[in-house]
C-alpha cells in the first residue's frame, strides 16, 4: 500500500471555494439553504453536513494594526488512528487497502451516528432520510481511475496537492521553512496527529488561528465499545447488544459533554 495524501498549503489559498463547489458537483450533492453568512467571514454553510463534505472557514485577526485574513478548507482528515473506524459497529467505515483512504461503505452503514459522535473533527454526518453516514471520500472513485480528488483538481493556486504521503511530508517541511524565512509562523498539522493524518495542513499563521484541536484524540470511552464488540465481531452479534452498547455510549458521551460544558 502507498499511503495517499493531500497537502494543504494554506499560504496559497485564496478562499475562492472552488473546492467546495467542485465537491458538490462531482459527488452530486444538493445545495443547502443558507442566510447571510452562517460561519465567520464569508463561510457558508455553517458546518459540514450530509450534503456538504467540505467547507472553507474564514479567520480574521488583527496583529499590530495589520490584518490577517486566513482560510482553511475543512473536511475529513483521513486519520491513521481513525475514531470512526474504531467505533463503527458494522464496519461500514472502511479503510481502503490500496490508498489508505477511509470511506463509508453505504451498503453496510446503518446510520447509527457513532462516527459522527466520536470524530474529533466533527466530520461525518448522518443523513436522516437515507440513514447513512456521509463524509468526504477523498474522491476515491477518481483516485482509483488515476484522477486527483475533485477539490484538488479544482484548486487554482495549487494550494491543494495530491500525492504519496511520504513525499508530501517532505514537501511540507521544506515549504514550512520557506514560510518561516518569509516571516510567517508556519505549523504543520497532520504529521503526528492521530498517528498521522492523510490530509496535512501547512498553517502559515500558527496553529491557534485555524479552529483545529491542538492534540486531537480518539475519545477514551471508545475503548469500552471496542471491548464490547471485539468478542462478537467474528460471530453473530445481536442487534440488541450493538444497540445497547451504542445507546449506552452515546449517553455516556452526551453526559460527558454536558459535564464539560457545566464544569
Amino acid at each position: 500500500m502507498i499511503k495517499k495524501a493531500v497537502l494543504f498549503d494554506l499560504s496559497k489559498c485564496i478562499a475562492c471555494r472552488s473546492c467546495q463547489v467542485a465537491c458538490k458537483q462531482w459527488n452530486n450533492l444538493a445545495a443547502e439553504k443558507t442566510t447571510f453568512f452562517e460561519g465567520t467571514g464569508y463561510q457558508n454553510p455553517k458546518d459540514l453536513s450530509p450534503k456538504t463534505w467540505t467547507v472553507v472557514k474564514f479567520f480574521e485577526k488583527k496583529v499590530n494594526g495589520n490584518i490577517i485574513w486566513a482560510f482553511r478548507k475543512h473536511q475529513c482528515m483521513q486519520c491513521s488512528d481513525a475514531a470512526c473506524i474504531t467505533v463503527c459497529p458494522v464496519k461500514a467505515m472502511t479503510r481502503d487497502e490500496k490508498t489508505d483512504i477511509v470511506y463509508v461503505n453505504e451498503k453496510l452503514c446503518i446510520g447509527c451516528g457513532a462516527c459522527q459522535e466520536y470524530c474529533p473533527f466533527g466530520v461525518p454526518h448522518v443523513d436522516e432520510n437515507e440513514e447513512k453516514s456521509k463524509k468526504c471520500t477523498s474522491c476515491i472513485d477518481r483516485i482509483n481511475d488515476g484522477l486527483e480528488p475533485a477539490c484538488v483538481k479544482a484548486c487554482l493556486t495549487e494550494a491543494l496537492e495530491f500525492g504519496n504521503r511520504e513525499e508530501l511530508v517532505i514537501k511540507a517541511k521544506a515549504r514550512a521553512k520557506e514560510l518561516e524565512i518569509a516571516g510567517k509562523r508556519p505549523y504543520i498539522y497532520g504529521i503526528k496527529e492521530l498517528k498521522g493524518l492523510n490530509n496535512i495542513y501547512i498553517l502559515p499563521e500558527g496553529l491557534d488561528l485555524y479552529d483545529l484541536p491542538k492534540s486531537p484524540e480518539v475519545p477514551k470511552d471508545i475503548g469500552l465499545l471496542n471491548d464490547l464488540l471485539k468478542p462478537y465481531s467474528v460471530f453473530t452479534l445481536t442487534a440488541a447488544a450493538v444497540g445497547l452498547a451504542i445507546g449506552y455510549l452515546k449517553t455516556v458521551r452526551h453526559e460527558q459533554v454536558k459535564e464539560k460544558e457545566n464544569g
Binding site: K12, I14, A15, C16, R17, S18, Q20, V21, A22, K24, Q25, W26, N28, A31, E32, K33, T34, T35, F36, F37, Y42, N44, P45, E60, I67, W69, F71, V90, K91, A92, T94, D96, E97, K98, N105, K107, L108, I110, G111, C112, E131, I140, D141, N144, D145, K153, A154, L156, T157, T236, A239, A240, V242, G243, L244, I246, G247, Y248, T251, H254
Partner: protein, 1027 residues
C-alpha cells in the same frame, strides 16, 4: 433510562432500514443505469442487501473501493468558461443528451485543469429548472406572460422594428448633412456572446441605422481602450494571464483579482513562488490583500494622486529606465511653448468653461521643417515632455498624496520603493487592474497614470510586465472588437460622423499620416480595413462607384453611450430596446431612474437564459403592471455549452467552443435568433419599401436557415472576393474592393489552413515564457505580448536575456520568439507601431481632460480637492434631468461608498443567483462596514441596515469587519463602506440592488458611470422601521 431510549431509537431505525432495503431490492432490478444509481448498485450491494435482512452483512467489507468513474462512458467536448475574461478551458461530459459533469481542462495552459467556484458550478447552468424553455410574451398592461411560438415572436418583433425604424428614421440632420440613422431603437448586450453572434449583431444593427448600440464594455473597460490606445496604440490587455507568472513585482490596483479573476492568482502565486512581490492597493482589505506582501489602503477615487506620487518618487530618485524612456517614449519630444501645465487652477491651457472642454491647439509637438516632431534626447529642454512631466508630478509629493488618499505614509513609501525597483532592465513589473480603476469620472486618466509609470520603468512589451486590463466577461474583449459600441466599427475603426460625407472624407479624417520614415504608423492601412468591412457587409452591392455603400452606415452626432441611452429612454426618444444577455435593471447606475425609463418603452426584446430583472421589470416590487404599457418579448437563449463558436479572452486569445448538448426546451442560440430576425426584417423591407431600405435589403446575409457559425467566422477573418479564398493575414487586405473582411484584427484567425482558434498544441515557444503560440489564436496575428519590440534595446537585444520575448537575429535578419510588432529591423522602425509617432506617449493629446493625469475628486466627495481649486473633472457632463439626477452632499451623506463584486457571484447576477451551489455560498446582499462605524451607529454583525444615497435606498446585511477602515484625510477621519452589487429582485437568491444608490455620471471621455465612489449614509434597520 437514556440507555433504553437510545436502544429503542436504534431498533426503530433498524426496522426502517430493513424495510427500505427490501423495497430497494425490488426496485433495484428495474434500476436504470444512471449517474446516481450506478454509484448505489456498485460493490457488494446485492449480497449485503439480502444479508441485511438478517441485520448484518457477514461478508468482509470490500476494502478496495469498487466504484466506476461516472464520466467513463460519457462523450467529452471542450469549452471555455462563460464567466470572467480569463478564458479557462473546461471539459464537458455528456450522456444521453444531458451534461453529467464539467471540470477544468487539464491540457489548457491557462487553468491547467483548475477552475474557480463559478466555473466549477457551470453544471448548474446546463441542468437548471429555472432556465427559460419557452418563448414568452407580455402584452401591454398585462400582469402575466403568455407562451408563444418562434414564428410568431420573430414576425411580431420584425414588424415592430420596421414600424419604429420607419417612423423615426432620419436621412439628414438640421445642417442638412446625411445621417441615415434611427434614434428610436436601442440595443444592449453581447459580452457573453460568441464573436460570431456579436459580429452579426453589429452588422444587423448598423444596417438598421441603430446608433444607440451599446453593451457591457461601456460599463466595465470603456476607459481602458482610449487610455491604453492613447498611450501605446492599442486598447487591450498588453500581456496575458500566463505571463503574470513571469513577473518580479505585481501591483494590483483597482482590482480584487483573487475574487474577480481568480485564475489570475494561479499565475500570481507562481510568480510569488519564484520570489515576486505582490502589492495590493485598494480601499478594502480583500481576499487579494490577504496574499499581498504589502497592502495599501486608499480612498476610492484617488488613484491618480497615489500613482502620481509614485511617478514623482520614481523621477526624484532616478529609478526609471532611462534608455527605454529616451528611445521608446515621447519623453524627448518638444511641446508647443504655449502649453501650460495645470497649476492651482487645476486646468491645462485652452480650457473653455462654457463648453466644459479644451481647445487643444497648445497641446502639440514642435515640428521641424519636415513636419517631424522635434526631440531633445538629453531630456533637458524645459519644453520637453520629460521636464513638463517632472514638473507636473512634482506637485504630488508624499505628504500631499497621503492627505488625499488616506494611505499611511510609510505604507505608501514601501509601495513606491518596491514597485520602482522594477525600473532596472532585468526586472519586470506588471499592473493588474479592473473596475476599481475604470468606474470613475476620471477613469481614463487613472489608467493613463498606470501607463506612465509603466513607461518610466520600462515595463511595456516585456515578459512579466505590461498593463493588464482584466476583462470581467468571457467575451467582452471580442464584443468590443466587434464594435457593439456606438463610437466604433469592427476592429476599432471609427464610426463615421456627419462631416464625413463620403468614404474619402471618412478615410481622410481617420487615417493618420506621418512624415517620419521610422514610424510604421500602422493605422495608415485604415482604407484597406474600412473598404474590406463595407465589402463584407454589403457584398456585391458595394462598388467603387457607390462608395462601397458607405452612405449605408449610420452617422453619429455626439454621445449615445449607456447613460445617454437611458436618459434618452427616460425622455421618450427610444421606443424599442433589445437586451441581449445584458441586465441593465441591476447593472445600470441610478437604477430607480433607469428602471422607470424601461417603462417608457413601447417594446422590449430580451434574449436570455433566465427571467432577469430586466425581463420582468414590469412586475418588479412596488409597481403596478397594469399601468406599464411596454410589450416584452422574452426569447429563451442557449448557454455556452449548448452552441458552437469562439470567444476572446482578456489576453486576446480567441478560443473555440464546441456544443455539448442541445439547449433546453425551445431555447435557441443567439446566432439562430439574430439570423431569423434579420431575415424577417429583410423580407418586410423587400415587400414594402419603408424608410431608407437600402442597407437592410442589400445587406450581405447568407448564412442558411440554420446559420453556419463557421461561415460567419470565415467572413470575420476575410476572403478574396473573386477567388473566395480565405485571407491569410491583414497585410493582404486591399482598399479596392477585392477583399472582404468583417474585422481586420481577426484576419489570420480562420485561413485556408483552417480554424486557428480551435488549435490545441500544448508546445511552448523556444523562449519558454508561456506563450503557447499554437494553442488557440490571438489577435493581432497571434502576437501574444504586444509592443514586444520594446522588450529589446535599439539594436534588438533583449533587455532581459533570461526571459526574452523577441530578439533580432542579425544573420537571418529576422526576429525570433513571439510574433514581433512588424518585421522591420530594430533600427528601421520605432516599436510602438500603432502610434503615429512610433513612441509610447507620456504626454497624450487625444484625451479630453489633459495630456497628463490630474487628480480631481469624484463627483460626490466628502472633501475639497487639495491639489487644485478644480474640485471634479472639468470636462465631464453632469446630467440634471429633473427629479432623477440627484446629487448628495456631505452633511446628509457623510460616508464614502464604493461597490464591489466577489468570487461567488458574477456581474448582474443572473448567471450565479440562479445556481443553488453559488447561492448557498453567498445568499444575501451585504455591506461591509468598519468596527468604528458599527459602534457609532449601533450596528451589529449580521444585522440588517439601510444604506441610502441622494438617489435611493437599499436594505442589506451588515458585515462588520476590521478589513474596512475609516480613513484619515488631511487630519480628519472619514468612514467608508463597501457594498456588493450583484443582487436584484429576480432569481433564486434575491436582494436590493446597490445600483439604486450609484450616480448617473460618467467619465469625460467614455461616460463609464462612477460606480466606485459616491456618498451615502447608513442606519440600523430597527431605526428605519421606527420612523
Amino acid at each position: 433510562m437514556k440507555v433504553i431510549k437510545s436502544w429503542q431509537k436504534y431498533k426503530e431505525k433498524k426496522r426502517m432500514r430493513v424495510n427500505n432495503q427490501n423495497k430497494k431490492m425490488k426496485e433495484g432490478l428495474k434500476m436504470q443505469f444512471s449517474r446516481r444509481t450506478f454509484l448505489k448498485i456498485s460493490g457488494a450491494t446485492a449480497t449485503c442487501a439480502i444479508l441485511g435482512d438478517m441485520g448484518f452483512c457477514l461478508m468482509k467489507p470490500k476494502s478496495a473501493y469498487a466504484q466506476n468513474l461516472k464520466v467513463k462512458y460519457g462523450k467529452e467536448s471542450t469549452t471555455i468558461c462563460p464567466y470572467c475574461g480569463v478564458g479557462c478551458g473546461q471539459i464537458v461530459t455528456a450522456s444521453d443528451g444531458k451534461i453529467i459533469n464539467i471540470e477544468g481542462d487539464p491540457d489548457h495552459p491557462i487553468n491547467q485543469g483548475a477552475l474557480c467556484s463559478k466555473g466549477s458550478a457551470l453544471y448548474q447552468v446546463a441542468n437548471n429548472e429555472r432556465r427559460l424553455t419557452k418563448i414568452l410574451y407580455r402584452a401591454p398592461n398585462s400582469i402575466k406572460w403568455e407562451i408563444k411560438t418562434w414564428d410568431w415572436a420573430i414576425q411580431e418583433i420584425a414588424k415592430r422594428v420596421k414600424t419604429t425604424r420607419d417612423a423615426s428614421f432620419k436621412l439628414t440632420d438640421t445642417a442638412g448633412l446625411t445621417i441615415n440613422r434611427t434614434e428610436a431603437i436601442a440595443a444592449l448586450g453581447g459580452a457573453a456572446h460568441d464573436n460570431e453572434e456579436c459580429y452579426l449583431w453589429s452588422k444587423l444593427m448598423r444596417a438598421l441605422g441603430v446608433v444607440y448600440l451599446e453593451h457591457q464594455a461601456r460599463l466595465c473597460h470603456s476607459p481602458s481602450v482610449p487610455a491604453l490606445a492613447e498611450s501605446f496604440g492599442r486598447g487591450a490587455m498588453t500581456n496575458h494571464w500566463i505571463d503574470i507568472g513571469n513577473s518580479d513585482c505585481i501591483m494590483i490596483i483597482g482590482s480584487n483579482a483573487a475574487e474577480n479573476h481568480p485564475m489570475a492568482f494561479k499565475w500570481v502565486t507562481k510568480a510569488m513562488e519564484k520570489g515576486a512581490k505582490l502589492i495590493h492597493v485598494d480601499p478594502r482589505f480583500t481576499r487579494t490583500s490577504s496574499k499581498a506582501h504589502v497592502y495599501a489602503q486608499l480612498r476610492p477615487g484617488t488613484d491618480i494622486a497615489f500613482i502620481g506620487g509614485i511617478i514623482n518618487y520614481c523621477l526624484l530618485n532616478n529609478l526609471f529606465h532611462k534608455d527605454y524612456v529616451v528611445e521608446y517614449t515621447n519623453a524627448s519630444y518638444l511641446i508647443n511653448p504655449d502649453f501650460k501645465l495645470s497649476d492651482a487652477s487645476g486646468l491645462f491651457s485652452g480650457y473653455n468653461l462654457e463648453k466644459r472642454s479644451y481647445d487643444k491647439v497648445s497641446w502639440s509637438y514642435q515640428l521641424d521643417e519636415n513636419d517631424i516632431p522635434q526631440k531633445d534626447k538629453t531630456l533637458e529642454d524645459p519644453n520637453c515632455v520629460f521636464q513638463l512631466m517632472k514638473k507636473h508630478f512634482g506637485r504630488y509629493d508624499v505628504d500631499t498624496v497621503c492627505k488625499i488618499t488616506g494611505t499611511p505614509k510609510d505604507v505608501f513609501l514601501t509601495v513606491a520603493n518596491t514597485y520602482c525597483q522594477t525600473g532596472t532592465p532585468n526586472k519586470s513589473g506588471t499592473i493588474l487592474y479592473a473596475m476599481g480603476a475604470t468606474q470613475h469620472t476620471v477613469g481614463v486618466q487613472y489608467i493613463r497614470s498606470y501607463a506612465i509609470i509603466q513607461m518610466l520603468l520600462g515595463n511595456m512589451g516585456i515578459a512579466g510586465g505590461g498593463i493588464n486590463a482584466m476583462r470581467g466577461e468571457s467575451n467582452v474583449q471580442g464584443s468590443t472588437d466587434m464594435a457593439l459600441l456606438f463610437h466604433i466599427l469592427p476592429g476599432y475603426l471609427k464610426s463615421p460622423i456627419p462631416e464625413n460625407k463620403t468614404l474619402s472624407d471618412y478615410l481622410t479624417k481617420w487615417t493618420p499620416t506621418s512624415k517620419d520614415p521610422k514610424s510604421a504608423n500602422w493605422w495608415q492601412n485604415t482604407p484597406k480595413y474600412a473598404t474590406s468591412l463595407l465589402k463584407a457587409w454589403w457584398g456585391d452591392k458595394a462598388t467603387k462607384e457607390n462608395d462601397f455603400c458607405y452612405s449605408y452606415l449610420p452617422k453619429r452626432s455626439g454621445d449615445y453611450s449607456f447613460i445617454s441611452l437611458f436618459e434618452a429612454m427616460y425622455a421618450g426618444t427610444i421606443k424599442g430596446l433589445f437586451a441581449m444577455g445584458q441586465n441593465p435593471a441591476v447593472a445600470g447606475p441610478n437604477l430607480n431612474m433607469e428602471r422607470k425609463a424601461l417603462e417608457k418603452l413601447d417594446w422590449m426584446v430580451v434574449m436570455e437564459l433566465w427571467e432577469t430583472e430586466t425581463a420582468e421589470f414590469w412586475k418588479r416590487p412596488g409597481v403596478d403592471p397594469t399601468k406599464i404599457n411596454t410589450e416584452v418579448f422574452l426569447l429563451p437563449a442557449a448557454a455556452s455549452v449548448e452552441k458552437e463558436g469562439s470567444i476572446s479572452n482578456s489576453g486576446r486569445w480567441m478560443q473555440w467552443r464546441y456544443k455539448a448538448v442541445n439547449p433546453p426546451g425551445e431555447a435557441k442560440d443567439d446566432l439562430w435568433i439574430i439570423n431569423r430576425l434579420c431575415k424577417a426584417v429583410k423580407e418586410l423591407y423587400a415587400k414594402d419599401n419603408g424608410a431608407f431600405p437600402g442597407p437592410v435589403v442589400d445587406l450581405n446575409w447568407d448564412y442558411g436557415d440554420e446559420p453556419d457559425v463557421h461561415k460567419v467566422a470565415k467572413e470575420i477573418n476575410g476572403y478574396d472576393v473573386n477567388t473566395k479564398k480565405q485571407i491569410a493575414k491583414f497585410g493582404d487586405l486591399k482598399d479596392d474592393g477585392s477583399t472582404a473582411c468583417g474585422n481586420w484584427l481577426y484576419c489570420a484567425s480562420y485561413t485556408e489552413d483552417g480554424n486557428m482558434s480551435a488549435r490545441r498544441n500544448p508546445q511552448d515557444a523556444p523562449n519558454n515564457i508561456g506563450l503557447y503560440p499554437q494553442w488557440s489564436w490571438c489577435w493581432p496575428v497571434n502576437r501574444r505580448i504586444i509592443y514586444n519590440r520594446a522588450s529589446c534595446d535599439p539594436t534588438g537585444n533583449p533587455w532581459d536575456p533570461n526571459k526574452w520575448v523577441v530578439k533580432w537575429d542579425d544573420v537571418s535578419k529576422k526576429w525570433a520568439g513571439d510574433v514581433p510588432d512588424g518585421p522591420w529591423a530594430p533600427q528601421d522602425k520605432y516599436p510602438f507601431i500603432m502610434n503615429v509617432e512610433g513612441h509610447a506617449r507620456l504626454f497624450a493629446q487625444g484625451l479630453v481632460e489633459g495630456p497628463f493625469p490630474e487628480h480631481y475628486e469624484p463627483q460626490e466627495s466628502p472633501v475639497k480637492n487639495i491639489i487644485s481649486n478644480q474640485q471634479s473633472n472639468p470636462c465631464t457632463k453632469v446630467w440634471n434631468t429633473l427629479g432623477v439626477d440627484l446629487w448628495g452632499t456631505q452633511d446628509k451623506f457623510p460616508i464614502i461608498a464604493t461597490t464591489f463584486r466577489m468570487t461567488e457571484h458574477w456581474q448582474a447576477g443572473a448567471m450565479t443567483r440562479n445556481l443553488p451551489w453559488l447561492c448557498e455560498l453567498v445568499p444575501d446582499t451585504f455591506v461591509e462596514i468598519s468596527k468604528s462605524l458599527a459602534a457609532k451607529k449601533g450596528i451589529t454583525h449580521g444585522s440588517k441596515v439601510e444604506v441610502s444615497s441622494a438617489r435611493g435606498k437599499m436594505i442589506a446585511y451588515a458585515v462588520v469587519t476590521d478589513r474596512i477602515k475609516a480613513l484619515n484625510l488631511n487630519g480628519s477621519t472619514y468612514e467608508q463602506v463597501g457594498i456588493v452589487w450583484h443582487f436584484g429582485y429576480s432569481g433564486l437568491a434575491t436582494g436590493d440592488s446597490a445600483n439604486c444608490l450609484t450616480p448617473h455620471i460618467g467619465d469625460a471621455n467614455t461616460m463609464i458611470p462612477e460606480y466606485k465612489a459616491f456618498l451615502c449614509d447608513i442606519r440600523r434597520l430597527k431605526e428605519v422601521q421606527n420612523d
